[in-house]
Amino acid sequence: MEGDIAAMGAYLGAGFSAIGMGLAGIGVGNVAANFLSGALRNPAAAGEQTATLFIGIAFAEALGIFSFLVALLLMFAV
């Protein structure tokens, strides 16, 4: 019984940590949207900055990945 409650808590926590992925999605969307609005103002300079765009997206995404990591830890390691 006690183990069941602990397992329920772990699974609930894993589910809640999925919220973090949505927040990371907002962050990645912000990066891409700002890049696009900047690129449309000055298309000539946009091509060189795609590498920066991907680096920015990768860093924004990294924190969403940690929520996935928390979910994995709760489900398989705790």
């Binding site: 060189e48 590498a51 991907f54 990768a58 990294a62 990945i65 940690f66 996935f68 990591l69």
Partner: protein
């Protein structure tokens, strides 16, 4: 592999596709069962390496002035990565170009081969991406200390910040430095794993709806699978690109730690 029984006809097992299985029976003696075993993972690792070798051996065989199709694919990839290393990591990082090119081609081919139906996706395993990321992390750290000595630690000491803030920033920088291999590996592995699991879930829907509606209901999930598959192709290429470009960024930190 799970075989559907009466109670779980519509059960979907999206994670079964990632199981590492032996193709050659059981390996060594008890306790050492892993030794001498040929798994599906090893098979697809070998196919990946052979595919890369085939592309570049065949592509560089003719060395024609007007490139053949396969030669121009090889040249495009080479030029793309060369320019990326030059732009992101700087001119003096060109001597590490072979390593970065190897990383990129390996991840790209592994990602793309994983999209063949019934194949095994090696880069969706954190064990594989973790080794790649640890390799980059340890390599870059050792390289930074060899090239710069103790000056490499200036990476964590922001000179332009106010003096009171510097220790705080140093702690944050130190944490973010050691988190790099974690995010670097899980980004690739989780993206691939999630994509393949989604494809499998939709495939399960298609099977269930085909049984329930005697056929036509399966059209919707199949269209969805096709769309997801296109997205997965994009993800496969973009994730290989992101892994490589982050390697270049880390390499730049090792070569020029003073920001």
């Amino acid at each position: 592999m799970a075989t559907p029984t009466d109670g779980e006809l519509f059960a979907i097992h999206p994670m079964d596709q990632f199981a590492v299985e032996s193709l050659s029976g059981h390996g060594g003696p008890a306790g050492l069962a892993g030794i001498g075993m040929f798994t599906n993972q090893m098979l697809w690792l070998a196919i990946t390496v052979l595919a890369i070798a085939a592309l570049f051996v065949l592509g560089s065989r003719g060395r024609a002035m007007v490139p053949s199709r396969i030669q121009s694919v090889g040249e495009l990839m080479y030029g793309f990565i060369y320019k990326m290393v030059e732009d992101v990591a700087g001119r003096d990082a060109i001597r590490f170009f072979p390593c970065i090119m190897t990383l990129f081609t390996f991840i790209l081919f592994a990602n793309l081969l994983a999209l063949i139906p019934t194949s095994f996706s090696i880069t969706s395993h954190i064990a594989v991406t973790g080794v790649l990321a640890m390799l980059v992390f340890l390599g870059v750290t050792v390289l930074g200390f060899i090239l710069n000595g103790a000056k490499f630690l200036k990476l964590f000491w922001a000179d332009e910040a106010p003096l009171a803030l510097r220790p705080v920033l140093a702690v944050i920088e130190l944490i973010s430095y050691f988190v790099r291999p974690v995010s670097h590996s899980i980004r690739l592995g989780a993206n691939l794993m999630a994509g393949h699991a989604v494809l499998k879930v939709f495939a399960g829907f298609a099977g269930g709806l085909a049984v329930l509606t005697y056929g036509p209901g399966a059209i919707v999930p199949i269209v969805a699978i096709s769309a997801m598959y296109g997205l997965e192709l994009l993800v496969a290429v973009v994730q290989a690109y992101v892994f490589t470009i982050l390697t270049c960024v880390y390499l730049k930190d090792a070569l020029h730690p003073g920001h």
